[in-house]
Structure formats: C-alpha cells, structure tokens
C-alpha cells in the first residue's frame, strides 16, 4: 500500500483487487456499450428495438462473475453485462443490433440473442420462460456426465408467470440439477407492475413451491449479488441442487427505447437513480481504499477506446448477402430450396 492512500479494508467474498477492478470494467463496459447503442439507434443504425439494462448492470455482471470456466448461463434481453463477463465481445453485440453479415448469427437473430457454448452463454429466444427448461437440460447433461459444471438462467419477474418457467425450475429441482435461477425483480414487465403479475411480495418465496433454497438480495449491491450467486453456484457444483435467487432492482428505462414510461413514476425513477449500482460500487471501492479515481478513470478510458474501436470496426460491415438466407435450417439437407420464382 502506498503511503497517503486510505488503508484498504479486507476485500469480501474471496475476491482480490484485480477482480474488483475487472468487475468495474465490465460494469462500465456494459453501460457504455448500451450508450453507444443508443447513439446508433438514434442514427437509425440499429435495425430493430433497443433494450436497456440501465440500473441493472450490477446484478447482471456480478452474478455472471460468480461462474467459472465451463459453466453456462442464459441471459435475457437485459443481461448484456452477463454475456460480456463470459467473453462476448462488444463488436459482436454491435453487429447483432445492426444485423451485420459478420454478426455471430450472421444477421439472422437480433440484439443479444446469440451463443457461445465454449465461452459459456446460450442466447435466449423471445418466448419468455423457455430458457429455463433448456438450461435445466444443460444442467442435466452436466449431471449425467458427472461434470462439475453449473448452469445459470435469468428470468424476469414477469416471466415467472410463464408455464415454461414453472416446468423448468420444477424439473431442475426434482432432478436436483446444478442450476441457479436468477429472478430479476425490476418492478415491471413491460408496463405491468409486479403486483399485477404475482400476488407475492418477495419473489424468492417462489422457491418454496419447488423445495429449493430461495434467497433475496439487493440487486444494486454488486458484491452482495456476487456473494449470493457464488454460494448458490458452488453449492450446485458439489451436488447441492437448484437455487432461486431474487435480485431486487429497478428498470430505470422503459421496456425498450421507444417506450414513453408513462406508467412509471418519475419519483421512483429518481429514487433508483440515487441507488445506481455502478455509482454504489465505485463508492464502495473508493471508500474501502480498493481503488482510487485514477485507476477507475484509466478503466473508463480503456472502455472508451475499446468501444471507439468496436464501433469503427463494424459500422461499415455489410448486411448479409442473400446467398446466406437459406442455409442451415437443417444439418441435412444443408440448404432450404430456393423457390422457383426467385431463380435468377
């Protein structure tokens, strides 16, 4: 420790300083990448809708950070941070949103709906709840092969109402699968407040119906989310089965960029702005002497540089060529038939 700095307190949750900074890096990267996307969206360079995770980056990054190589997570639309932690590259995300030929799905799927099972993430489909059974199957494969790997799946408060969520978590629970289910209690499902979605106050109690542990954590407290997730992940890894974690947070933006948020109270948004997970994390780092503003600024600058480069790298990439439109519907046959009225 250099003389003159605040004496650092012990870092909790078994993390070291480097890891703390890495978490900061991912928080910043997530937020800044989304801000870049907003710019591109305003320039009409994003093809479809844009979905923000403003105010939720903390839980997304921290929970993913609790996984190890070989583990697999399945993100939702607001879990960009979790994918970046697993190794997805900003340029891939940009290319996806802009439907570039060079994007991970070759322009076939939108936003963060893409996978890298080696790195450890499986993009969602739109139908809410469906990823829970699928991730139960991935966890099942770990169990059948006696691998010490863990699956993690995110579900919104709204999506807990879907039948597939129920079937999947129950399946995982009764088969005692190494799966962690993170329920993001962010106050809304599109315009619908959580109180119109379910009659429970604490979504963690839903665990009781499946006979698994359920825990609630402050979703805007990065280290708390990390710790709770790590405990659940490591319990799953040693055969302790499935856990449900409720992260309590708030969706500060509308459902998507076009949403006017008429149904959200301005006061509430402001209140949660004061509870921003990134701000809180920075404060924790500084207060405890784990990082100073110089080092954080350096990370910010690194993020800015990376994103400048990422945007530059892909902005002029072409859209997919029509030659790729029909391939890979099946492994075999390798291409769908080009219809007769389209023959050259």
């Amino acid at each position: 420790m250099t003389a003159g700095t605040v004496p650092a307190s012990t870092i909790p949750a078994g993390l070291n300083r480097e890891q703390l900074l890495e978490i900061y890096y991912f928080l910043r990267l997530t937020r800044s990448l989304e801000e870049r996307l907003v710019n591109l969206y305003r320039q009409s360079k994003v093809i479809g809708g844009l979905y923000r995770s403003l105010g939720q980056e903390g839980e997304s990054v921290a929970s993913a950070y609790a996984l190890r190589p070989g583990d697999i997570l399945s993100p939702l639309i607001r879990n960009l941070g979790s994918m970046l932690v697993r190794g997805a590259k900003p340029v891939e995300v940009l290319r996806q949103y802009m439907a570039k030929a060079t994007s991970p799905t070759k322009g076939r799927e939108l936003n963060i709906h893409f996978n890298d099972l080696q790195l450890g993430y499986l993009g969602q489909i739109s139908h809410l709840g469906d990823m829970v059974p699928v991730m139960a199957g991935i966890a099942l494969s770990f169990k059948l092969r006696k691998e010490t790997r863990v699956g993690l799946v995110y579900v919104g408060d709204g999506a807990t109402s879907a039948g597939a969520f129920h079937e999947g978590i129950n399946f995982a629970a009764v088969q005692h699968l190494p799966l962690v289910v993170i329920v993001e209690h962010n106050g809304f499902s599109y315009s619908t407040p959580t109180s119109r979605q379910t009659a429970v106050e604490r979504l963690a109690v839903k665990a009781k119906g499946y006979g698994i542990p359920g825990v609630t954590v402050d979703g805007n407290d990065v280290l708390a989310v990390y710790e709770v997730t790590r405990d659940a992940v490591e319990r799953a890894r040693v055969g302790g089965g499935t856990t449900l974690i409720e992260v309590v947070t708030y969706r500060r933006k509308g459902h998507a960029e076009h949403d006017d948020q008429r149904y959200q109270s301005k006061d509430e948004i402001a209140k949660w702005e004061g509870n921003d997970p990134v701000d809180r994390y920075v404060e924790t780092l500084q207060k405890n002497g784990w990082a100073d503003s110089t080092i954080l600024a350096a990370i910010d600058a690194r993020v800015t540089g990376q994103l400048d480069q990422a945007v530059a790298e892909c902005e002029n990439d072409p859209l997919p060529s029509i030659d790729t439109a029909l391939t890979e519907v099946f492994a075999n046959p390798p291409s769908a038939e080009r219809l007769w009225f389209r023959d050259a």
Binding site: R108, R196, P320, A325
Partner: protein
C-alpha cells in the same frame, strides 16, 4: 368522413362492440394503462375501466383458458396476444380445450384471440410469424385475417359477435400504413366466411389474404400495365371456414390460379387451397395452380435476408407471368 388507419379501424370496432355489449371485455398483457404494445387498446382502460380491460400476467395459456371459462358463462372476451408469435404458448389450450368444446361437450366458447402477425418489419424470427397454418388444421376454430381498413373493423366486430371461437390475425405492417374513409357511425360487419374480390380480372386468379393482398394488387396492376393481362385478386378475409365458392367461381372464369401467402411454403395453407381448387375445378385449369410464399426458413432479422425470404410483389409478377404464358 374520417380517414382511419387499419389499426384505428380495429380499435374502433372493438370500442363500438364494448360500448354496445357489456359482456365484451379485453384481457392481455399491457392492454390496460399502456394501451397495448401497439396501442390498439389505447383509451380503453380509461373508458371501460379495470374490470373490462384486464392486464394479465405473462401467461398466454391462462389468458386463453380464462377467456374460455368466462365465455362459457356468457361473457365475450377478446384476448390480446402481444405478438401473435406468443399464441404458440396457448396452442394446447386453443386446439385441445377451446376448439373441441362444443363438439365434445356442448359448450359455447365465443372468444376472440387477436394479435399482430406478420413480417416486413425487421422483427426477427419471433416477432414476424404467420401462425394460421397451425390453427387452420383444428376443427372448431375460425380464422380471419383482414387486409383492409374496412375489414379490420368489420371482421373484429363480426368475430366478437360470432358464437364460435375466432382467431383474428391483424397484420402489423398494415397497422399505420393503410388508410381508408370509414363513414362515422356505420355499423360495419364483414361476414365471416365470405371472401372479397379485391380486383376483377379474367386471365388469372390470385387467391391471397392479409398483407399479401396489397402485394398482389401491386403485381396485378403492373401486369395489366405492362402485359395487358387482367388479373383477379381474391382477398379471402376469412381463412376458416374458407369461401370455396368464391375461389372456384373465379378459377372457373380465369382458368389459372396463383395462391399467394406470406407464410412458409411447406405446410402453409396454400396447399389446402390448391387441393380444393384441384378437387373442385380441375377440368377448368389450363395450368397448374402455383404458389408464391415465403421460403422454408425462420424469418431472419437482417433486411436483406428478410426481404429475400418473404414473398415480394415482383415474385407475384414473375409467377403470374409464368402462369399467363403457360
């Protein structure tokens, strides 16, 4: 005479039915204060109140199931699917519970399930689907798919008044893109089961529905202008029960037929239409009945790919010319 969009006509139709008949109510995700993802039910919550405009959990099976239960008791629920793609989550409830209710158990289930269908809006694989083929196959369901502003209104009103379950497929590409003058206060009812001749012609019949009506009309005009051939366009409006008589009468007149739909080729409802033409007008056919459809893939997101996969007006032109030259 106010000019309405397709979406406004749909909204007006629902509004009039709710005002007319207190048994009618709406349920779905975000249909209340927010007025629905596409604002189809904007203003309904304020006008008709929380007990007739019900925001539900994300539970398509429960939405449809609850609608069915309420319908058994004499109510007239209109259930919104936020995107019609999510109707797949209610597939069991619709095909097994709802469709069979009258036949197996004498139950009346007058529900309407409606939602935005179709592509051309860069929605990707899960916000662009045409679901009709999956439900077309189940006896007991009616299916309507308006192409015009007038029918958007007339069919929603007819669907709400119908004593059978009706799936109403609105096309999201048309929502704000087409307009029509609709006389105020006219109680427009488009009869379910009746097709419409969207354009008269004598050399070729195009059978189509929903947004493809417009692409077909565009093609027909181009052919008229450039080739001097006259193309009849039949807008089915109702897919089930299908108006065989209208289709067959036209084919017997033109002796050539082309079926155009936005859905994928394999298993799309064009197959059924072709089978019916073949069964009922074989002797009148001077050429095979052909189809212009989407390719057999999911709907991709990138504009280049989506435009390639989905059928376009020029495809209709090309197929029509092929048939005219046959």
């Amino acid at each position: 005479m106010p000019e309405l969009t397709y979406l406004e006509a749909l909204r007006q139709g629902m509004w009039e039915e709710m005002a007319r008949d207190e048994r009618v109510f709406i349920l779905g995700e975000d249909v209340g204060i927010y007025g629905g993802a596409f604002k189809v039910t904007e203003g309904f919550f304020e006008k008709f109140g929380a007990s007739r405009v019900i925001d539900t959990p994300i539970s398509e099976a429960a939405i449809v199931g609850a609608a069915a239960g309420a319908a058994h008791m004499g109510l007239r629920p209109v259930a919104e699917m936020q995107f019609i793609d999510f109707i797949s989550c209610a597939y069991d409830m619709l095909t097994n519970y709802v469709a069979t209710a009258r036949y197996r158990a004498g139950l009346s289930t007058p529900i309407v399930v409606r939602g935005p269908s179709g592509g051309f809006v860069r929605g990707g694989p899960f916000h662009s689907q045409m679901p009709e083929a999956a439900f077309f196959h189940t006896p007991g369901l009616k299916l309507v798919a308006p192409a015009t502003v007038r029918d958007a209104k007339g069919l929603i009103k007819a669907a709400i008044r119908d004593d059978d379950p009706v799936i109403y497929l609105e096309h999201k590409f048309l929502y704000r893109r087409i307009k029509e003058n609709i006389p105020e206060g006219e109680d427009i009812i488009t009869p379910i089961g009746k097709a419409r001749i969207a354009r008269e012609g004598k050399d070729l019949t195009i059978v189509t529905y929903s947004a493809m009506v417009w692409k077909s009309l565009e093609a027909a005009e181009q052919i008229e202008k450039e080739d001097g051939a006259s193309v009849e366009v039949i807008d089915l409006r109702t897919l089930l029960p299908m108006d065989d008589a209208a289709i067959i009468a036209s084919v017997k007149k033109t002796n050539r037929a082309l079926v155009v739909h936005e859905d994928t080729r394999t298993g799309g409802i064009a197959g059924e239409i072709i089978a019916r033409i073949n069964e009922q007008a074989f002797e009148w056919l001077d050429a095979p009945v052909m189809r212009v459809t989407a390719h057999d893939t999911p709907i991709p997101y990138a504009p280049t790919l989506e435009d390639f996969v989905l059928p376009q007006a020029q495809d209709v032109v090309k197929a029509a010319r092929w048939l005219l030259a046959y």
